[in-house]
Amino acid sequence: MVPLSWYLVFAFMLIGLGAYGMMVKRNLIRILIGAEIMGNGVNIALVAFSLYSPVFTFTGQGLIILVISVAAAHTALALVLMLMYNRRYDTVDLGTPIEEEVV
């Protein structure tokens, strides 16, 4: 069978990719996409643990249902905040306001 370490390594690679994307990118939408990729990686790790644990309960799967719905709510709010940011500064690039302060 597929050993659990494979699933975990893959989940950690997704988390690392999401973290790297959140730190390097300057566009706000790409940062949000990085956060969602990290969320997906965490979900995969949760379900993998739920399947391979010695006593099979539905804790992992039930938890994931709650996590997915909370992620949906917070993504909606984050996008509304981005719309407000765009109305105020007329850009979605993160670099510009800091440069204005320096100047």
Binding site: I65, S69, A72, A73, T75, A76, L79, V80, L83, N86, R87
Partner: protein
């Protein structure tokens, strides 16, 4: 392995969908007349006038709230789907009576919020008249800028 054997029809459908899209695009590419494109042919059409500047002035943010509403109803639907695809509400025993009350409370909370949003939606977005004001103001500002830059 059993789950994979159950989902083979889904894979066949997915491949069919991809093949269908590619066939349609290929067919339109084959049947198109291939002529050269120049910049006048590919520019945007604006009822015969020359397009000045970008096409968006006031951002229609009021349509975004409907997408947020859809996501909330989608999550609610997922929970209902889980409950209705089990046999919990038809089993013998006491759980189904408490379950009905829980479902009613869940739906009532979300429906209350949806009704509140729909009632206060006219306060949160621009009217037709206000959008017209904003458009006229933006157009006047742009014409002022153009006249200033035209003088220099």
């Amino acid at each position: 392995m059993r789950l994979f054997l159950d989902f083979i029809p889904v894979i066949v459908w997915a491949l069919l969908a991809v093949v269908l899209v590619i066939v349609m695009l290929l067919a339109s590419w084959v049947l198109r007349p291939h002529v050269l494109q120049n910049s006048e042919k590919t520019s945007t059409y604006e009822c015969g006038e020359e397009p000045i500047g970008p096409a968006r002035i006031s951002y229609p943010y009021n349509y975004f709230i409907y997408a947020v509403l859809f996501v909330v109803v989608d999550v609610m639907g997922a929970f209902m789907w889980l409950l209705s695809s089990s046999t919990l509400l038809w089993d013998d025993g006491v759980t189904k009576y408490t379950l009905v009350w829980e479902v009613i409370l869940f739906i009532a909370i979300i429906m209350g919020a949806i009704m509140f949003v729909l009632k206060s939606l006219p306060d949160a977005v621009l009217d037709g008249k206000e959008t017209l004001e904003q458009y006229r103001k933006a157009k006047a500002e742009r014409e002022k800028e153009q006249s200033i830059s035209g003088r220099h």
